[in-house]
Amino acid sequence: MNSENAKAQMRKGILEYCILLILSRNSCYASDIIKELREVKLIVVEGTLYPLLTRQKNSGLLSYRWEESQQGPPRKYYELTEAGREYLKDLDQSWNELIESVNLIRK
């Protein structure tokens, strides 16, 4: 039993939460999301993000619109839907609870 699996599971949930957090501020292009996640060392490779975004979009948390770009192909800008905001509120709460529980035990 190594810690990799536990870590991967933890990161997966947190990654989804953080994507929603980033998008709750304003609508973003995938590369902007990647940049932020990379700065805080949550992801290393871009390919990780695309399936997550598509899954969140399919479950109705996100929507996207196309926007022209000067540098190349039109870009997909993602934004939170109403359902996504509700979902995020839920996650915010459970995150706080988790932190509290873990801190209580770690003491």
């Binding site: 390919g47 695309y50 190349g72």
Partner: protein
């Protein structure tokens, strides 16, 4: 001097060096394989290709025209290999990976004499195809059993059509390197056939 290939990524035309093209093709195949079974696999692939097109354009700038191997390597580095995505869905990704690196017997259509049964066996056990052929021939000459067995196997064994199946037939793990090798072999064969005609 190098031969270039014209390709379309995310709706944009690019000239690529031949070696860079093979590298990219193998990489995209490995991604496709990774996302197989995903609900919106084609959408994810389209997103990734669009992003890659953007990265290539940024790399080319205004003066350079041809995408080279180092461009492809750099972009692959940024996007990551399927092995690096494992953390997003570790269980399913790993299960899928385990099942794709399995070892199955197929009929090998590339080296066949009749139905590809013997060449498939040879690929499976890493033998010279002459060995199963001689055994079958001996069995056929000794009585009808060999012929019967051959026909049954011809019906029962599936043909290795896709690159992944061919790799599975040999029992190699399915990864970017192996797919690249297979794609290149296939390319060389087609080229040879073309020249012969």
């Amino acid at each position: 001097m190098k031969v270039t290939v014209n390709i379309n990524i995310g709706g944009y035309a690019f000239h690529m060096d031949e070696d860079a093209y093979h590298e990219l093709k193998a990489y995209l195949r490995s991604l496709e394989l990774h996302f197989t079974g995903e609900e919106s696999a084609s959408e994810i692939m389209a997103d990734i290709e669009t992003r890659m097109a953007e990265l290539f354009r940024a790399r080319l700038g205004t003066f350079r025209q041809v995408i080279t191997m180092s461009d492809v390597r750099e972009v692959m580095e940024i996007m990551g290999r399927p092995e690096d995505f494992v953390d997003q869905d570790s269980y399913t990704a790993r299960d899928k990976f385990a099942s794709t690196s399995s070892h199955r017997m197929y009929r090998d259509p590339d080296n066949r004499m009749i139905g590809g049964v013997c060449s498939g066996m040879a690929a499976y056990w890493h033998l010279d195809p002459i060995i199963p052929r001689v055994i079958f021939l001996a069995l056929i000459l000794a009585g009808g059993l060999g012929l019967f067995a051959y026909l049954i196997l011809w019906i029962v064994l599936p043909e290795a059509r896709t690159t992944a199946q061919k790799i599975e037939m040999r029992g190699d793990p399915v990864n970017v390197h192996n797919i690249k090798e297979s794609v290149r072999e296939e390319f060389e064969r087609v080229k040879k056939n073309f020249k012969n005609k």
